[in-house]
């Protein structure tokens, strides 16, 4: 399958089309609106379902097959903020707090982008390691902690403010609802294994695609509502929002290949590396780096990188993974 037909098959999947509908609804200021409670409920469902599926996959593959890619994922989570931070400081001219905040967002991951990518792989019949959802669970926390520590550098030099926030950040990064639920469901999936899967499959697997489509409709609206803020964030962040996922995604693809993942699994690690968070990172970073302006990180993450990844990034990472596996 050539590059354009992979892009086309991504663009014509229900999930991406619903995402486009959401964007359209937001841009045209339609009165279509999801209650916040539904947004939260759909997030919880998706996280539980992929966590559980991943856990069952880990129990089948055995920890021996998993630890190396898992380590690569943790490495990615630490590495990306370190790569992004100096770029944001020097080229982007951001102050320490803002650079740290944006770096934390880009180091941590978007579970929904990951899910859309597994969908994409399924559509083009490329197999992948189902335990890959365990990567999500281990990338968020190191990235957030790393970004926050980088961003706090300026504060410790000023030394005027007592650092009461780092413990809270650790807690938010490790026990935040997203990571907690994902890790918890993963463990439950691991413990209950295939038999457990048979008993919950009808709820967690069969309706999954529909729930994802519905959630992407909502995410289209959320992203679309951010488009107005693009003017305020300046041209550098626009470029960064498109270039960073490609650079991080390529790094992820490289590391995934080295860790021995298949083309599908490599694509997924690349997608995670290229994606940026809008669930775990914003809340943790807002509290830990109050000097940072959330308009920058959230607009870049939600308004630029997320739509880019959903529409073009996923097939691109797949091509990169394919190339590296040749």
């Amino acid at each position: 399958m050539d590059f354009f037909s992979t892009i086309e098959s991504n663009l014509l999947s229900p999930a991406v089309l619903f995402f486009a509908l959401g964007l359209f609804a937001a841009v045209t200021r339609s009165d279509l609106k999801f209650p916040e409670a539904l947004y939260t409920a759909l997030t919880l469902y998706l996280l539980t379902a992929i966590g559980f599926k991943g856990g069952v996959a880990v129990s089948e593959a055995g920890l021996a097959a998993v630890w190396q890619p898992l380590l690569a994922a943790v490495g990615m989570g630490c590495l990306i903020p370190l790569v992004a931070f100096p770029l944001l400081r020097r080229l982007g001219g951001f102050d320490q707090a803002n650079a740290g905040a944006i770096a934390a967002h880009y180091g941590s991951v978007s579970a929904v982008t990951f899910i859309a990518a597994t969908n994409f792989l399924k559509n083009i019949a490329v197999p992948y390691e189902s335990f890959a959802s365990a990567f999500i669970a281990v990338m968020d926390s190191p990235a957030i902690i790393m970004g926050v520590m980088l961003g706090k550098g300026s504060l410790s030099r000023g030394a005027s403010r007592p650092d009461q926030g780092l413990r809270r950040t650790l807690r938010d990064a490790v026990l935040g609802r997203g990571v907690l639920l994902l890790v918890g469901s993963l463990l439950i999936g691991m413990l209950s294994g295939k038999r457990g899967m048979a008993s919950v499959e009808a709820f967690f697997v069969t309706p999954f695609q529909g729930v994802l489509a519905l959630f992407l409709l909502e995410m289209g609206m959320v992203a679309g509502n951010r488009l107005g803020d693009l003017k305020k964030v300046g041209p550098f962040l626009l470029v960064f929002g498109l270039a960073a996922p490609l650079v991080h995604g390529s790094l992820g693809a490289l590391l995934g290949t080295l860790a021995g993942l298949s083309v599908g699994g490599t694509t997924l690690l690349a997608v995670l590396a290229g994606s940026s968070s809008y669930i775990a990172a914003p809340a943790a970073v807002r509290l830990a780096l109050p000097d940072a302006n959330p308009a920058y990180s959230l607009t870049a993450s939600l308004g630029i990188t997320f739509p880019f990844n959903i529409v073009l990034g996923i097939p691109l990472y797949f091509e990169i993974a394919k190339f590296l596996h040749r």
Partner: protein, 100 residues
């Protein structure tokens, strides 16, 4: 029926701050609070509450008249510089002043 004058302190702020604000209220000796999710707009832009991260919370407490201004002062010192927050007091009258 006799009603006693008290102050109602209202705080409207970013949802992520709820825990910290409630903690501060506790530290100031406040006995309880009421919180609800709200949305709106202000100097820091639109807070449309489509996700919790861009929603607001409104927290209300009733305190003794002499406690209200120090409570507001603490809120100002801790949050006003960096966060979207509006805090104000107003007059209320309650039946059981010992509750607050």
């Amino acid at each position: 029926m006799s009603l006693h004058p008290m102050k109602l302190v209202t705080v409207i702020c970013e949802s992520v701050l709820e825990e910290q604000v409630v903690e501060l209220l506790r530290d100031c000796g406040v006995q309880g609070h009421t919180a609800f999710d709200v949305r709106g707009s202000g100097s820091q832009g639109l807070r449309n509450a489509e996700m919790r991260e861009c929603g607001n919370v409104q927290i209300e407490v009733i305190v003794k008249p002499e406690a209200a201004s120090s409570l507001l002062e603490n809120l100002r010192a801790k949050f006003f510089e960096h966060f979207a927050m509006v805090a104000y007091e107003s007059e209320v009258r309650v039946l059981r002043p010992q509750k607050f």
